[in-house]
C-alpha cells in the first residue's frame, strides 16, 4: 500500500535518497534499519509527506500522496516524528484529542466519534489512567505511549514511527514494541518503524528493510535476510548471527575485538573480512572467539 518510485530526497545541498524504489507490505510490521545517516529517517519522513521529494513519487494505495489533500492523508496514515515537541501544560487526553484534527473543523470541534476514538486510543496505549496529567510531567516511556495514542486516535490503517524507542530504557522499549506488535496482530494495522536495535528489529518485524547510503540493501522477513554478511555489508560490523534463545529470531552478536581493533570496517572496502577485525590469536572460523576471558560461553 505504501510504495516509493524513483524517490530522490534530501536536505538543502545534500541528496540523501537517490532514486529509491520500495514497496512496503500491507498488514505487516515493517522495520527499517541501517547505520546513522543512511537515509532511513529521510525515507520515513518523505513517505509521511513531512519532507517533499525532489523527484519521484510516494504512492499511498496507488495514488501519489502529493495529489491527496493532507487531511485525507492524515485519516489514512498516522505519523510519529522522531522527537516531537511536548506542548507545555497540555493534558494527556487533550494531546491525544489532537489526533482527531483531520476529522474536525472550527465549526465542528468535537463529535461522539472523536470521543470514542480518543478513549479507544488511550486504552490501547494504556494511558487511560494518565488522562488528566500534563504531558510534560510524564516519564519518557509514558510520553512515548501518549504520542502513539495520539496517532492511534487518528484511526488510520497505517502508522509510521521514526525511532519510537530512542531515549527509552530497555523495559520501555519492549513496552512500546509490544504495543506496535499488538496494533499489527490484533488491529490489522500496517506499522512501519525506524529502529536502531537490530535484535529488536529481528524480533518484532514481519518485514525488514536494511538501508545503506540512501539505498535499500535487502528487504524481506528477518529470518531470511538477516545474516552476518548483511550486517557486515550494511553496518561494516563483524558479527555472528545465532538463533535467539527466546524467539528463535536471528540474534546479532558483534564480534569480539579485544577493545583494540576496530569492529567497524568500511563496507565499501573489499578487503574487509571478519578475521581482520579481531586479535590475530583468534579462531578464524568463529568470530566470537578471541582473547576474551568469557569465550565459549
Amino acid at each position: 500500500m505504501l510504495s516509493t518510485r524513483d524517490l530522490v530526497a534530501g536536505y538543502d545541498e545534500r541528496t540523501v535518497l537517490d532514486g529509491l524504489d520500495l514497496d512496503l507490505p500491507t498488514d505487516a510490521f515493517t522495520v527499517i534499519v541501517g547505520p546513522n545517516a543512511c537515509g532511513k529517517s529521510t525515507l520515513l519522513r518523505t513517505m509521511a509527506r513531512l519532507l517533499t521529494p525532489r523527484r519521484g513519487t510516494v504512492l499511498l494505495d496507488g495514488t501519489a500522496i502529493r495529489d491527496l489533500p493532507t487531511r485525507e492523508v492524515a485519516r489514512r496514515l498516522g505519523v510519529l516524528p522522531q522527537s516531537p515537541l511536548v506542548p507545555e501544560g497540555v493534558t494527556v487526553a487533550d494531546l491525544v484529542g489532537r489526533g482527531r484534527q483531520p476529522y474536525q473543523r472550527w465549526w465542528r470541534q468535537w463529535s461522539s466519534e472523536d470521543g470514542a476514538a480518543v478513549d479507544q486510543a488511550m486504552a490501547l496505549a494504556d494511558v487511560t489512567d494518565l488522562a488528566d496529567r500534563p504531558v510534560d510531567s510524564l516519564s519518557g516511556g509514558q510520553r512515548q505511549r501518549v504520542w502513539i495514542a495520539m496517532t492511534l486516535a487518528q484511526d488510520t490503517d497505517a502508522l509510521l514511527l521514526d525511532e519510537p524507542t530512542t531515549f527509552l530504557d530497555l523495559a520501555h522499549q519492549v513496552e512500546v514494541l509490544d504495543l506496535l506488535h499488538r496494533l499489527r496482530s490484533e488491529r490489522g494495522r500496517t506499522v512501519v518503524a525506524v529502529l536502531h536495535d537490530l535484535n529488536q528489529a529481528a524480533r518484532y518485524a514481519d518485514h525488514l528493510v536494511a538501508m545503506r547510503a540512501g539505498a535499500v540493501v535487502a528487504a524481506g522477513p528477518p529470518r531470511e535476510i538477516l545474516t552476518a554478511d548483511l550486517v557486515r555489508d550494511v553496518f561494516g560490523l563483524a558479527c555472528v548471527v545465532v538463533p535467539c534463545p527466546v524467539t528463535g529470531a536471528p540474534l546479532v552478536v558483534p564480534a569480539y575485538t579485544g577493545g583494540n581493533a576496530p569492529a567497524v570496517k568500511d563496507p565499501d572496502s573489499s578487503t574487509a573480512s571478519v578475521p581482520d577485525a579481531r586479535p590475530s590469536t583468534g579462531d578464524a572460523a568463529n568470530p566470537l572467539a578471541g582473547s576474551h576471558p568469557s569465550k565459549g560461553l
Binding site: 487531511r71 492524515a74 516531537p84 484529542g97 484534527q101 470521543g115 488528566d132
Partner: protein, 378 residues
C-alpha cells in the same frame, strides 16, 4: 472504559436559556458525554455546529465583562463635571438627563474607543504571540508599531491634513508587515525567524523615525512624540468605527483563529502528521494579527503594551496552555479603559497619554503573575 475520577461538570453557564431543543450542552469531561475526556471543557452544540469551550474561560469572560461594564460606567462618571453613576445609567437608558451632553458627546466616544482599541490590541497580541511562540512578542517588537509610527511622523511633520494621519499610519504599518513577511518567509515563517525579522524591521523604522523627528520643526516633533506614545485624547467615534469595522470584517477569520490557535503548540512535523498545514496556518494567524495591529495602532498610536500583557494575563487567568482569544480581547478592553481613565484623572487637569498608563498598570501585574507562577512551579 474506566470509572470517572472527575466530578461531573457543573450546570453549564454557556447554555443559552430559552433555546432548549436547539442546543445541547454536554460536559465533555465525563466519559458519558460522547466518550470525550477533555477535562475542563464543555461541548456546545447548536445544530451542526459543535464547539469545545473551556468552562473556566466562560467564567473569566463573564467576570471580565462585568468589570469592563463597571469601568465604562466609572469612566463616564468621573471627571469635571462629576456625573453620578445613577445619572450615567439613566442617561445611557435614553431617559434624557441634563448630563446627556457630557456623557454622550464628551465621554462616551472616548470610552468606547478605549474599549474597542484595547480589545483589538488583545486580539493582535494573542495572534502574534502564538505565531512567535514567545510571550514577549507584540506589535512593537515585530515592527508594526514602528512602521505606523514612521508614517505618522512623516505625516505630522510635513503638514499633512489631520484626517490623513491615520490612513498614512495604516499604510506604514502594513508596509512594515509586508517587509516582515518578506524577511521571515524563508523556512515557512518559523517562530524564531519571524521574531528576528520583526526586530530588524522595528529597529530600521525606529531609526528612520528619529531622523525625521530630529530634522523636523520642534513643535511638529512634539506632536509626533505624543502620537508615538499613544493617546485617546481628541479621538472618538471615527477611530472606534474603523477598528470595530476591521474586527467585524475579520470575524469569520477570528472564529477560525480561535480554533487554529489550539494547534500552534505542536511542532511542524507533528502538525503535518495530523493533517494540518502549519505554514499556511502561521501565515493566516500572523497576517490577521498584524492587520489588526496596524489598524488599531494607526488609529490610537502605540498603546501597545496592552497587546503584550493582555494575552499573557488572560492565559494565566484561564489556566490554559495558550492565550485565549476572547478573554484576551476583554482584558485588553478593560486595561485600556482603566488606563485612559487613570490618565485623565490622576493628575487632572494634566492629562497623561493612555500609553504611559497601560505600562504602569499592566507591567506590575504581569510581574506579580510571573512571580506567583514561579513560586507555584518550584
Amino acid at each position: 472504559m474506566t470509572t470517572t475520577r472527575r466530578p461531573s461538570g457543573p450546570a453549564d453557564p454557556t447554555s443559552p436559556a430559552g433555546s432548549a431543543g436547539l442546543s445541547t450542552v454536554a460536559d465533555a469531561g465525563s466519559p458519558g458525554a460522547d466518550g470525550a475526556r477533555l477535562s475542563g471543557r464543555s461541548l456546545l452544540r447548536v445544530g451542526p455546529v459543535s464547539l469545545l469551550i473551556r468552562r473556566r474561560a466562560v467564567l473569566v469572560a463573564a467576570v471580565l465583562t462585568v468589570l469592563l461594564l463597571l469601568a465604562v460606567v466609572l469612566s463616564l462618571s468621573l471627571g469635571t463635571p462629576y456625573v453620578a453613576p445613577a445619572d450615567v445609567l439613566r442617561a445611557l437608558s435614553g431617559a434624557g438627563t441634563p448630563y446627556d451632553l457630557v456623557v454622550f458627546d464628551l465621554r462616551l466616544p472616548r470610552v468606547v474607543l478605549a474599549a474597542v482599541a484595547g480589545a483589538a490590541f488583545g486580539v493582535a497580541g494573542t495572534l502574534i504571540q502564538s505565531v512567535a511562540r514567545n510571550p514577549l512578542a507584540s506589535p512593537d517588537v515585530i515592527g508594526i508599531t514602528q512602521g505606523a509610527g514612521l508614517a505618522a511622523t512623516v505625516a505630522l511633520t510635513s503638514g499633512m491634513a489631520a484626517v490623513l494621519v491615520a490612513p498614512t499610519a495604516l499604510v506604514g504599518g502594513l508596509l512594515a508587515a509586508v517587509l516582515l513577511f518578506a524577511l521571515g518567509a524563508r523556512h515557512g515563517l518559523a517562530a524564531q525567524r519571524f521574531v528576528l525579522a520583526g526586530v530588524a524591521v522595528a529597529f530600521g523604522f525606529r531609526a528612520l523615525t528619529e531622523v525625521v523627528m530630529l530634522t523636523a520643526d520642534p513643535i511638529d516633533g512634539l506632536r509626533a512624540q505624543i502620537w508615538l506614545i499613544g493617546t485617546l485624547a481628541g479621538k472618538g467615534w471615527t477611530e472606534a468605527a474603523w477598528i470595530a469595522g476591521t474586527l467585524l470584517v475579520l470575524l469569520p477569520v477570528l472564529a477560525w483563529a480561535g480554533w487554529a490557535l489550539n494547534s500552534t503548540a505542536l511542532d511542524d512535523d507533528t502538525a503535518r502528521g495530523v493533517g494540518l498545514r502549519p505554514v499556511a496556518r502561521r501565515i493566516g494567524l500572523a497576517g490577521t494579527g498584524v492587520l489588526v495591529a496596524a489598524m488599531v495602532t494607526a488609529q490610537v498610536g502605540a498603546v501597545d503594551f496592552v497587546a503584550l500583557v493582555a494575552p499573557q494575563v488572560a492565559r494565566r487567568l484561564v489556566r490554559a496552555e495558550r492565550p485565549p482569544l476572547v478573554c484576551a480581547a476583554l482584558l485588553g478592553a478593560l486595561l485600556l479603559v482603566l488606563a485612559d481613565l487613570a490618565g485623565r484623572r490622576l493628575f487632572a487637569p494634566t492629562q497623561l497619554p493612555a500609553g504611559v498608563l497601560t505600562a504602569a498598570i499592566g507591567g506590575p501585574y504581569l510581574i506579580f503573575l510571573l512571580l506567583r507562577g514561579r513560586r507555584r512551579s518550584s
